[in-house]
Amino acid sequence: MFELTTQNIGTLLLDGSTIFLLIGVLMLSTIMRKRGRQDDKLFFLLVIENMVIAVADIITYLADGKDFPGARFLNMFGVSVFYLVMIMLCMTWEQYATVRFKRSSMKLSKRRKLSFIPGIVMQFILVVNFFVSYVFYRDDSNRFNGLVFAVDRSNGYHYGILFVPMFLVMGFYMVVGFVLVAKYRTGSNKTLIPVWIYFIPLAVGLIVPFVFGGLSLTSIGIAMSMMFTHLGSASEITESVSEGGESA
């Protein structure tokens, strides 16, 4: 039977708050998107990806460990979507930092195209993992934990051999993005807005649930980090708008 536990309600609360916050930020940053800049478009994409992650997180937490019909499928599906979109978000973040702070064009050089290969390969593996793990479910006779993860017959979660490499791939893009933010902040951003403000919410969101368990702070940690980055750097935008020209 489906039962809403206190943890489920807590997850709904936190992930729901993420979506709430992001919708609000999206609606209120319309003027920035009207500039038509590439980094604004990437930020929009980041927000959408973050929302999808929050929804996938809710689905996963509601289905995890439960025995209602379809619970196992929902759990597998929710977790697969979560990781797929997480990888996409990490790659988008790296692109955003490159375009926004390093001021590169969105047009990809050969080297940047190559840097996307680990992310794309990992996403392909996750898609394969979903089908393979769902079919070859883990039970007493079959100890297959999936390529990345598997959900067994009693709706329990198990890590596969590529679980840690997946996090390393995500970490790679995230770290590159933050290094670009730290290195290429210029003008008012460099002197006024500390780099840790972008980094700490994300770190807390990832580390605290991992160490203490309980609720997921991932999506709200990412939301805060992305939001602080984008809104914090908006102080550059009025440098030349008073002349009616394009902003910095």
Binding site: T5, T6, Q7, I9, G10, L13, L14, S17, F20, L21, G24, V25, L28, S29, I31, M32, S188, L192, I193, P194, I197, I200, P201, V204, G214, L215, L217, I220, M224, M227, F228, L231, G232, A234, S235, I237, T238, E239, V241, S242, E243, G244, S247
Partner: protein
């Protein structure tokens, strides 16, 4: 700690993190009006204090921190005070955003402060008398009496009155476009609603999200402002043109001032002080300012132009001025277009 305790801890920790992050961003935000910035920071600071009290109260209820009855009452009273103070700071913030005048607040200081003083007094008297609420040490939770509703009424009064005067003001003042009532009300009300129907203290998270969205609007407003002077820019003029075309902006006259570029920043507070309500000042060139106003008679318009000119010349700023009144049979749209063409 119980599951409810963990959720409460996580929710309020998130509220604190979000508040502190926005606090840093606002602190670094280039804002012409330091007073407005300061009040906004006090709002954020109060939410952090509120969240900390919610966490301590959660620890108290779960037995994580040993507490006697007096300690429990003090924690609850501290939380109530933080909520009361938030209501007051919010009211002061709305008042200042609308009128940009400390004088306006001072003139109404008694009316503004009395409800808060009453709420504080009630909280203090409650500690020995328990006429508002008591702490049940056996069940480890707060028990509210029927008089507690008076405390809620006082806080609601601050919010409701601030919303009403904001709604009235928004109809006349275009600058209030950057102060969205919905951005504050929707998250606050929703999370207060959740607080009453779930065991989780979600109020601080709701207020944090609301205040964060207000900050996002501040950033929005900055897109429409000239960084050096704080006057609005051509982007804002484009927005006003749309409003004029929709007959939602009452344009009656336009004043123009040619101020040397080097003196623009210095002239900003001098000009702003002279202007009547509901005027919009736009910097439309390196040395050109236009003021869209609702003054419809030549006499007051001449006086206004002379007052601004005199104020600038007294400060040693050489300025050229001109103005134009909209004709009766002329539309506001064509009036503005003609003016801009000839300017």
């Amino acid at each position: 700690m119980s599951d409810v305790g963990y959720v409460s801890l996580y929710v309020n920790t998130v509220a604190i993190m979000l508040c502190l992050g926005v606090h840093v961003l606002v602190w670094k935000f280039k804002m012409k009006d330091i007073r407005e910035k300061r009040v906004f920071l006090y709002l954020l600071g109060d939410i952090v204090v509120m969240s900390l009290f919610y966490i301590l109260c959660t620890f108290r209820d779960d037995g994580v921190i040993p507490c006697n009855k007096l300690g429990a009452m003090f924690l609850e009273t501290g939380l109530e005070m933080a909520i009361n103070i938030f209501a007051l700071i919010w009211f002061l913030y709305v008042d200042y955003r609308m009128f940009h005048s400390v004088g306006h607040i001072k003139r109404n200081a008694v009316i503004i402060m009395v409800p808060l003083l009453l709420a504080v007094l009630m909280n203090i008297i409650n500690i020995p008398t328990k006429f508002l609420f008591d702490y049940d040490m056996s069940e480890m939770h707060v028990v509210e009496t029927s008089f507690y509703v008076f405390l809620d009424v006082i806080r609601l009064a601050y919010f409701i009155v601030s919303i009403i005067i904001l709604v009235i003001r928004k109809r006349k003042d275009e600058r209030m476009k950057f102060f969205s009532i919905g951005a504050f009300i929707i998250p606050s009300v929703f999370y207060v609603f959740l607080y009453y129907f779930t065991p989780f203290p979600t109020v601080s998270l709701g207020l944090t999200i609301a205040v964060t969205l207000l900050y996002a609007e501040m950033v929005n407003e900055k897109c429409y402002q000239d960084e050096k002077t704080g006057f609005y820019n051509m982007l804002y003029l484009d927005y006003l043109k749309k409003r004029i075309a929709e007959n939602k902006y009452d344009l009656r006259s336009i004043l123009m001032f040619n101020v040397p570029e080097s003196e623009m920043e210095k002239s900003s507070p001098l000009i702003t002080k002279q202007l009547p309500e509901f005027c919009d000042t736009i910097r439309c060139g390196k040395d050109k300012l236009i003021i869209l106003s609702r003054v419809k008679d030549k006499g007051p318009l001449t006086m206004l132009s002379e007052d601004v000119k005199m104020s600038l010349e007294e400060a040693g700023i050489a300025v050229e001025s001109s103005f134009k009144l909209k004709k009766k049979n002329e539309t506001a749209e064509s009036f503005l277009e003609d003016f801009m063409r000839n300017a």
